[in-house]
């Protein structure tokens, strides 16, 4: 029993100690997602499935670069998009 309590306490401590980092990273994630959704108003995701795909992706990359002041790779953008859309289906249509 004692051991269990210690474990709980340790868990609690560990949670506490990680809390600031975790919330900071989730804030960044939320910020990223919000910005991405904003960008999608300009570059509709449907355009990712046609001949304009790469320039749409380029537009999204540049939008995020300007928002966050760092470069975004196309893979990063696609991973973010993957949170909201089934990209495999999009690729299939290309």
């Amino acid at each position: 029993m004692e051991g269990r309590d210690e474990e709980k306490e340790q868990d609690g401590l560990s949670v506490h100690s990680q809390a600031p980092t975790s919330s900071a990273s989730s804030l960044t994630k939320v910020e990223l997602e919000l910005r991405l959704l904003e960008a999608l108003e300009i570059y509709p995701v449907a355009k990712l499935q046609g001949m304009h795909r790469h320039f749409v992706l380029y537009g999204l990359m540049d939008f995020l670069r300007r928002s966050f002041g760092r470069d975004f790779s196309s893979d990063e953008v696609l991973q973010l998009l993957d949170c909201f859309y089934n990209l495999e289906m999009l690729v299939l249509v290309i």
Binding site: I42, Y43, H52, R53, H54, Y58, G59, F63, S74
Partner: protein, 310 residues
């Protein structure tokens, strides 16, 4: 301006309207003429005359239209400015139902202008029309949003020669080309990675975009009519045109690029950055002009027959 610009069909249209039995009519510099453009005839002025081996070609300015539409045309596209021909112009334009002052004429032009033809070396301009305030404001805005991609003069000349070889001399680029479009893109990527020390993901995406545009638009926008048969012979199954065609056809894409990019609705700031990158790419093409481009085209056996048929 009327509907589709001077593509092969419009040139042929001009040919078919010219009297084949008569001697070629010659025009002088500064002469006011009537010029076929698409299905209609417009008033124009001959600004330059170039004497070719067995023909002449003329640099014309369409009166009342932006000089961006000035272009080189063959003699068959021109008519003497006589009462008879003016009447012909009025009848034809009426028949086409596309009076350049009407809305329908313009919108049809806007959509179909992107056919093949001499407009390849018109530096990627949008529409040709008279400046008439209050009409189609929306069109003006979208036209302004087109990114300007300046084509270096040396490459513009390349486009003119290209047009001349194919449409006037009946020659074709011998395929497959080496380097092909894919090779050129790879060479540019190498050049940039050496210059910058790394490969920027954004450059890679732009190059992929150019490749995708080329593959999709080649059969629809970038071929002259005389090249279509060759396309069907060379591009079968899943072959990508960018592995077969080379710089000659790829360069034509840059004339059409502003229109294509308009569909993406890219933000102004991003567009400016993209414009810089595309300009740099064209500079690279210019620097390698002698290795990327053919200096002469070949008469392809099948094409002779096609020419006769035309």
């Amino acid at each position: 301006m009327g509907s589709s610009a001077k593509d092969d069909s419009s040139t042929d249209n001009g040919d078919s309207n010219a009297d084949p039995s008569s001697e070629p009519v010659l025009f002088a510099e500064g002469e006011k003429v009537l010029a076929y453009h698409g299905p209609c005839i417009y008033e124009a002025k001959v600004q330059k005359v170039e004497v070719l081996t067995d023909d002449q070609r003329y640099f014309v300015h369409y009166l009342g239209w932006n000089k961006n539409w000035d272009e080189w045309v063959g003699g068959s596209r021109l008519l003497k400015f006589t009462d008879e021909n003016v009447q012909k112009q009025q009848e034809l334009n009426k028949k086409q139902g596309s009076d350049k002052n009407t809305k329908s004429g313009r919108s049809s032009h806007h959509k179909s202008k992107s056919s093949t033809g001499t407009e390849f070396f018109a530096a990627g301009r949008g529409k040709k029309r008279k400046v008439e305030p209050g009409i189609e404001e929306k069109d003006t805005i979208s036209d302004d949003k087109h990114v300007k991609i300046p084509i270096p003069p040396q490459l513009k000349k390349q486009l003119i020669d290209d047009w001349n070889f194919v449409t006037q001399l009946g020659k074709l680029v011998k395929l497959p080309r080496s380097p092909c479009v894919d090779d050129i893109l790879t060479k540019y990527l190498d050049y940039r990675s050496k210059k910058d020390g790394h490969i920027a993901d954004s450059i890679g995406e732009i190059l992929k975009g150019l490749r995708s545009y080329f593959d999709k638009s080649l059969p629809m926008l970038l071929l002259y009519n005389k090249e279509r048969q060759q396309y069907h012979e060379e591009i079968k199954d899943d072959i990508s045109p960018s592995t077969v065609y080379g710089a000659e056809h790829f360069l034509r894409l840059f004339v059409k690029l502003p229109e294509l990019l308009a569909y993406v609705n890219i933000e102004e700031e991003t567009l400016a950055k993209l414009q810089q990158k595309l300009t740099d790419f064209l500079k690279f093409m210019k620097s390698n002009q002698s290795t990327f481009f053919l200096s002469t085209y070949e008469v392809v056996a099948g094409n002779c027959k096609e020419e006769e048929d035309d």
